[in-house]
Amino acid sequence: MVDFGRVQKELQECSRDMEASGIKIAPVSDNLVHLSGTIPGPIGTPYEGGTFHLDIKLPDGYPFEPPKMHFVTKVWHPNISSQSGAICLDILKDQWSPALTLKTALLSVQALLSAPEPDDPQDAVVAQQYLRDYQTFQGTARYWTESFAKTSSLGVEEKVQKLMEMGFPESLVRSALEAVGGDENMALEKLCSS
């Protein structure tokens, strides 16, 4: 059973210093097992200026088991799958400690954006490019940041609101947005075609 008392405290603590850290965590469902996290792209990296959304699910054993996180925003990074957004980070796996929190985990993810580890890649294609042609890697990463992490000035919640006003149910809107990496127009297309 997830320790909800602790999750509540974590959320409070996180919002208290949101100004300083730039890290946001908000519940997606009422029962606090499904959350969404936001991290700003680190300054001085191809991710600078982007806002990256992550989907967070808490397993029953949280905080004794690590939270499950993946990027919703598409990212070009050796340790993040360009397809699924899966993250290769030790503290989200066997190096997890119950003393870590969602905020510290997101900070670690942010640190990973600044310091990729191409030798332990999640995405082999990106890792190859990173090692062989760093210039092109930087270009692609920056382009992805421009196109996916800055698509609109609207936040996720605003996009959800907007699409719901068009008459789509909330659950569908959220899953559609999630599936297309937060792109409002693509989500609309998906909603219309389904």
Binding site: G5, R6, E10, P63, F64, S97, P98
Partner: protein
């Protein structure tokens, strides 16, 4: 026994040996009647579910005494070093105590718990609650969290199967949690899980130990076997199964484990036949269908229309002569293809040659095992006859020798197949050297073969119907042939170890040493049942807990065979289960947990 006949090469010649049978010192030599009682004080031990705890305690006690440690610290160190006490001590000497401890995650803290009493409330960083100090626990590393949180952590780790190394909850803290605390906290909420935890710790002695392995019997007999120095050996479990300790398959010396693995696989999938097919067909580079080559030059074409070079498999054009294809230059096109087919054929015949002999001896072995009954019957008939002959131990001894030699002989064929084949040692010997060695080996093999067959014939004689003098004659033959085959086996192993495998430059092939008396039956580990194992850090009573004392217990006492000593230990009062827990050690932990 070992010296008997040594230095007298004539005895290996079977013709001579028969003429020497009359020699009285051979007949009267009681040494020749090999005692078939299990060897005393065998170096391999059976660890039953009853003795597992004691076996583990023995090693724990050694480390606890040497380093003045508490039990759970000793266990953490031993698990880290795979229960190799010698290696642990070597690391201690080489790197020092501090490094030994920190590498394994051991923190020895003198003032455990005392600092907690200063304040009545502590902040638990996991649940982020203030809790009263008496519901929080401080681990040896100094990290303190509330009992609720510790318990949650332990439960997750035990369920993940990580009982042997549950780390502290603090980030980057490498310390291993005190097993007594784990047991205590978990048992309050989940007694069954605490039991599982204990079983994992107990079985670590087998699972993490290089010198201890589960007996591979199916259905599992519940035993494990511990060997002393050499992991390359063959053992017999108390359940009767004989196996190679190193690879856990059937006892296969003088084949090395690697050779045996290859051979068993070869026999299983008849890979030679597969090879035969691959020599005759090749996949088309375009549509991947197998294409057969029927004579002609090395340019073949598939029904899909693709032409390709038979030798390299590469797609080509169609314009070609006998010696080259236009625009194609793999360099192999000219190679004589006939050679290749010839070779595949030769390889197959070679395999069949060795396999037939291997199988013939294996089959004989099975037949003779069945004969055992009839032969022993003849013994009991003979024993009841009015006769001056009373002792028929030569029959049973001869039988054991026959079985032993038969096995050696049958496994010597796969050995020779790989030793003198191209597959493994092609670059190790030149052709001439190989030929010389092969002849040497085959000589020995044939001598052994001839003597084994003679021994077999003699034992099949209806001696229960013969007059005394004829029985005496057979007895002499059997005794003499037993000695000869034993010596021949010994020589063969020596030749393999020293002249054949010993000369190899690349890779290591080890074989289990030859044992005249057959595969050693592991003796039961004697145990002391006065301990209360469930209490952590509980000390064993001095009389049996010290390493000196327990090693004495290991050796079957006095004149009794190991069977006797087994009975002896079984008669001792035994506590059921371990501290109230009832472990089903009939299966390794992961098997149980899978269910």
């Amino acid at each position: 026994m070992d010296d008997f006949m040594s230095g007298d090469e004539d005895y290996y010649d079977s013709d001579h040996s028969e003429s020497d049978l009359d020699s009285p010192d051979i007949i009267e030599n009681d040494e020749a009647d090999v005692q078939w009682a299990p060897p005393k004080g065998s170096s391999t031990k059976v660890i039953t579910k009853e003795s597992l705890l004691a076996a583990q305690k023995e090693d724990l006690r050694r480390v606890m005494d040497l380093l003045s440690l508490r039990e759970h610290h000793a266990r953490t160190l031993l698990i880290h070093h795979r229960w190799d006490v010698e290696k642990l001590l070597a690391v201690l000497v080489e790197k020092g105590k501090a490094s030994l401890f920190s590498d394994a995650g051991v923190t020895v803290n003198e003032d455990t718990g005392s600092s907690l009493s200063f304040s009545s409330e502590v902040m638990c960083d996991i649940c982020m609650e203030e809790v009263s100090a008496d519901t929080a626990t401080k681990m040896d590393c100094g990290h303190c969290f509330c009992n609720e949180c510790w318990t949650g952590h332990f439960i997750v780790k035990i369920n993940e199967g990580q009982s042997r190394r549950i780390r502290c909850m603090a980030h980057k803290c490498n310390a291993i949690c005190d097993e007594a605390i784990v047991r205590n906290l978990v048992s309050k909420k989940h007694p069954d899980l605490a039991e599982k935890f204990d079983r994992f710790l107990l079985e670590s002695y087998i699972e993490d130990n290089k010198m201890v392995k589960w007996c591979p019997s199916t259905p599992h007999c519940g035993n494990a076997i511990r060997v002393e120095e050499d992991e390359f050996c063959e053992v017999e479990c108390a359940c009767g199964l004989q196996f190679c300790f190193s690879c856990l398959s059937e006892a296969h010396s003088p084949c090395s484990c690697w050779m045996w693995e290859l051979w068993a696989k070869k026999c299983r999938d008849e890979s030679e036949t597969v090879n035969w097919i691959t020599v005759h067909t090749k996949p088309c580079p375009k549509c991947h269908k197998p294409v057969e080559k029927n004579g002609g030059c090395n340019l073949v074409s598939c029904i899909c229309g693709q032409a390709f070079c038979w030798l390299c498999g590469g797609a080509t054009g169609r314009d070609h002569t006998w010696s080259r294809i236009t625009g194609h230059s793999c360099g192999r096109y000219k190679e004589d293809k006939a050679n290749k087919t010839e070779r595949a054929k030769r390889d197959l015949y070679r395999y069949m040659h060795y396999h037939n002999r291997y199988k013939a001896h294996t089959d004989s072995f099975k037949l003779e095992s069945k004969l055992k009954e009839t032969i022993l019957e003849k013994v009991s008939i003979s024993e009841e006859r009015e006769s001056r002959l009373r002792d028929f131990s030569w029959v049973t001894n001869g039988l054991c020798r026959l079985f032993r030699s038969r096995r050696v002989l049958s496994y010597s064929y796969p050995f020779a197949f790989y030793m003198f084949g191209d597959e493994l040692f092609r670059d190790e010997m030149d052709l001439q050297e190989r030929e010389i060695k092969q002849h040497l080996f085959e000589d020995q093999q044939q001598q052994l073969e001839a003597n084994v067959e003679k021994l077999s014939k003699n034992l099949e004689e209806p001696f229960d119907q013969y007059p005394d003098d004829k029985v005496m004659e057979i007895r002499m033959q059997v005794i003499n042939l037993s000695v000869i085959t034993d010596n021949l086996c010994k020589k063969m192993y020596e030749c393999i170890e020293n002249d054949l495998l010993g000369c190899l430059q690349l890779g290591t092939h080890n074989i289990a040493p030859y044992k005249s008396k057959g595969i050693e039956r592991a003796s039961e580990l004697s145990t002391c049942w006065t301990t209360k194992p469930n209490t952590a850090d509980n000390c064993l009573p001095l009389d049996c807990g010290t390493s000196g004392g327990s090693s004495e217990h290991d050796r079957p006492s006095g004149s009794g065979s190991s069977d006797d000593s087994g009975c002896f230990s079984r008669k001792r009062p035994r506590k059921e289960g371990f501290g109230g827990g009832f472990f089903d050690l009939n299966l390794p932990a992961e098997v149980i947990d899978r269910n």
